[in-house]
Symmetry: C2
């Protein structure tokens, strides 16, 4: 299942410092068979937030950008959208107007762009977008805006017998399409928000239809609920970057024995973005306070990471 060979330097993009040291010490401590903290492989569950933890999330969650761009693609067959909010605002690139619609506008766009397809059709739509769409300011593919140091961490943990799970507020079916290629995390290890699907027998055979109805919101209190639902074990390592991860941190930390909690702090406005308590996307306030109080590892992107994105210093 996994090798016990520790590469000479398992985390080359991490600068030597407190964060890297804490990670390696924890992993060594729970995987060395002669350690008093030894944890058997079946219990080595690691959970990772996605947006802002494994890839960037600015100017908006990338899945939101997908939805907005999808509105424009679908607009041809919805002429009424030119006169109907929130679609009108999106088609006119009026982000302020769109955001002023609040949760109601968000859900309408979510349902219009994520519902009313079969699961197989939705996979194709996401696959096409994720392999071609480019980020507005970096010009990169979104999958090129994943964090190289976190990739190395995922690989390191996997080599030490951990099973890495994504536990994200993002859409489970949106992520599953590409995370296996990009993070080497298989679809069955992805937990996320979902809309309800319905089994339907059609003339061409059975399909699962994505209905415009929220099934589960995997954020805040939803994260420990999702972890229990999908995994049924308490993780021993959790990484996130925002207040939406706080309950996942608390739930992970509450397990008996050694636990590792890591908080990615966005501090690098030159190479990525710098934001925390005042950010609309990825707000980090209470979780940072609790991390500092409880001695969780706060990863400073500017200081702790040699590189941010793959192939770019």
């Amino acid at each position: 299942m996994h090798t016990n060979n520790l590469p000479i330097n398992p985390l080359p993009s991490w600068r030597d410092g407190i964060s890297k040291k804490a990670i390696i010490e924890f992993v060594e401590s729970v995987t060395s068979t002669d350690s008093p903290n030894y944890i058997p492989p079946m219990d080595r569950i690691a959970v990772f937030d996605n947006d802002g933890t494994l890839w960037s999330e600015k100017p908006f969650y990338f899945q939101m950008i997908f939805a907005l761009e999808r509105v424009k693609v679908l607009a041809d067959s919805h002429p009424e959208w030119r006169e109907t909010q929130p679609f009108k605002a999106i088609l006119e690139d009026d982000m302020e107007g769109f955001l002023s619609g609040g949760m109601k506008a968000l859900l309408e766009v979510l349902y219009a762009t994520h519902g009313n397809t079969t699961t197989h059709e939705f996979e194709q739509i996401v696959l096409e977008w994720i392999t071609s769409a480019r980020h507005p300011s970096t010009g990169r593919l979104y999958t090129e805006m994943i964090y190289q140091p976190m990739l190395e961490l995922l690989e390191y943990l996997q080599s030490k017998g951990f099973r890495n799970y994504i536990v994200s507020g993002g859409g489970i079916e949106f992520m599953r399409v590409w995370v296996e290629d990009v993070y080497h995390i298989p679809p069955e290890q992805v937990i996320g928000s979902s809309i309800e699907t319905k089994y339907e027998m059609r003339s061409e055979g059975p399909v699962l239809v994505r209905t415009p109805k929220i099934d589960f919101v995997d954020d805040h209190e939803g994260k420990p609920v999702g972890i229990q639902k999908f995994i049924g074990r308490q993780p021993i390592l959790a990484m996130g970057n925002s207040d939406g991860d706080l309950q996942m941190f608390q739930w992970t930390a509450a397990g008996k024995g050694p636990r590792f909690i890591g908080l990615v702090h966005h501090t690098d406005e030159v190479r990525e973005w710098a934001y925390d308590q005042n950010s609309l996307v990825g707000k980090l306030d209470k979780a940072l306070d609790e991390a500092n109080q409880r001695g969780w590892t706060v990863i400073n992107m500017q200081n702790d990471w040699h590189v941010i994105y793959p192939g770019k210093a």
Copy 2:
């Protein structure tokens, strides 16, 4: 991850015949690297119903027996139950009276016996029951009423790189407590019906509280929905025993390439039970017709299995 060593006889409790031959031919065909039907390990997903497929389900689903016995345990702290249906009927061993209450009575008993505990407390309650309660007619522990031939099949598939999932109408948290020991299926590979849980911060730390509200019913149309939700891949092998498995069979069979569908037919009134289309529990009618029409493998327990339960011919 797995060995390629085929034991000389991988299914010793299966009599030589069409069913055993079909299983072995399918497994060989999708796992031999020189086969045109080769399927890589990551896609070798096998799904199994539990009640009536991996263990017995008579006179009632065993989880129902757990619930009824639990009512008696809890009755001391609920004196009002002596005068309130459906609890009164249960306390008086009046099964007909209880069943006459229909779905409403069932849900009331489910909520009273499965809700209002934390997840950790519920695990302890189930663990205590499953390791001590005995079946009314066989006197066996319920975990001694699993099917030896299916155990061998699970082990055989696992040795050939399959990942075995349970996909049951039974409660996910009820099963997870014991299936790892009994079937070697880890909790994260168990899909079942669930009630909602709620994250709560208590003075002793965070807990997940089981609330008296249905979250998901993993039966009939719910089975393919649950498979997509939890696994995100279409299985290549499915086994069940009742009409509640029909949609799981259809969904599995609809995948591209070779697929295996197996239907356990309860035909052995001497060693187990014999029932199908007229049974309240494990009703098998439409799925048997469709299996016969489509050439799915119908396993005849009386003819195909040397032994039923472990350690007993």
